[in-house]
Assembly symmetry: C2
Homo-oligomer: 231 residues x 2
């Protein structure tokens, strides 16, 4: 078996996991099958809803995530990434229990923001990622200005994310575009796509102006490919 294998803890949601898989393939300079990065992907979506747990006190996803991380380790993963921003609320807890390397999507994304040199940073993410200040704290620690949607706007962001999860793509796109525009109006020079569903929702827009966005999925994939190439 391949010496190093990247494990993806996914299923939150499956479409975001597939998007991460596709980005691994696209970003790997490969001339044949055998040159691609070895991946083990867990897309077992019965993990309790992350946002509902953080905001509403619903069932914690942590025990199930721990179990799936362990499963990836036992199946041979030597470095694990999580294809969900909100789930990173439990990142340190999972990392402490894991026997292998784990790379943080939030750290990888903030690194790319810092490298971009931009100062006023907008965020499109779930209510729970906002509430837990996963991005806000790290951006402000770097001296950057953090810009979030209005209370009303954030409701639309959240509705858009759940519409994508339920397969309602068109309605989802329309809602998210409006909030993207609103962040720019509020002064954002760069927008973090800080929920892994958002790069799927805004895919066509990202093609038109890629430098406007920092895609958390892409940032983590780049970090994981770098890890693979240096280990």
């Amino acid at each position: 078996m391949a010496k190093n294998v990247i494990g993806i803890l996914g299923g939150m949601g499956p479409a975001a996991t597939a998007d991460m898989f596709r980005k691994f393939i696209q970003l790997t300079p490969a001339h044949c099958d055998q040159e691609h990065i070895p991946l083990l992907i867990s897309s077992i979506p019965d993990i309790p809803d992350r946002t509902r747990c953080i905001l509403g006190g619903g069932e914690s996803p942590a025990p199930v995530m721990e179990q799936y991380v362990k499963q990836l380790e036992e199946a041979g993963a030597s470095c694990i990434v999580i294809a969900c921003n909100t789930a990173h609320y439990w990142f340190e807890q999972l990392k402490t229990k894991s026997k292998v390397e784990m790379l943080s999507m939030i750290e990888a994304t903030v690194d790319e923001v810092v490298q971009s040199g931009k100062q006023r940073i907008g965020l499109l993410a779930t209510d729970a990622t906002l509430a837990t200040e996963l991005y806000k704290n790290r951006l402000e620690a770097q001296g950057l200005t953090f810009i979030r949607p209005t209370e009303e706007g954030q409701k639309a962001v959240m509705e858009s994310i759940y519409l994508l999860k339920s397969g309602e793509v068109e309605k989802s796109v329309a809602l998210m575009l409006k909030q993207r525009d609103e962040l720019i109006r509020l002064g954002a020079e760069s927008i973090i796509l800080g929920c892994t569903e958002v790069p799927i929702i805004l895919a066509k827009e990202i093609e038109k102006a890629p430098h406007l966005y920092v895609d958390s999925t892409l940032a983590l994939v780049r970090a994981a490919i770098h890890w693979y190439q240096t280990h």
Copy 2:
């Protein structure tokens, strides 16, 4: 952990595995993450080249495939599918050693061909899938007429498949389209996309005339979803 999990033995190549993952998501009627089919995906692409082994006596992929099937089983897969037609040359051997259910892509595809009621069936596949007569034997056993590209044409099909694997999409599409047309000229009423790279190469054409094709990836995904829903 979810009671039943579908394991995908992939990496042959990674893009075909990602295409299968995407099709699982698209074909599952789900309103939220938790309603999607639980998947464990092995995309470890160091499996020796299948066609080279069958035609040139290169290293056999069977021992590595066996190992990855075992790994999927140990990680909790209760039914395993292989995202590669050519690899089905070793299907019975793998199935005999596996402790869990395995569904054949070739059987699932031929079932869909038979259901279509069409009689003259073309095949776009690797040299090795042609040489091992994986499809020819089963189609003729059903009283159907099997139509393959000319010797010259098959060289172009094979070149197109390896061009996709090396990331040269445009050239790959141009070569494959010509052979698609050639199969129709030879009398094919329906064309089996009998290599998992081919539905990726012909994606835009399939959208225009979906009923002309039987996509081996889609056929296996439908069979696996059916298995999941009835177990």
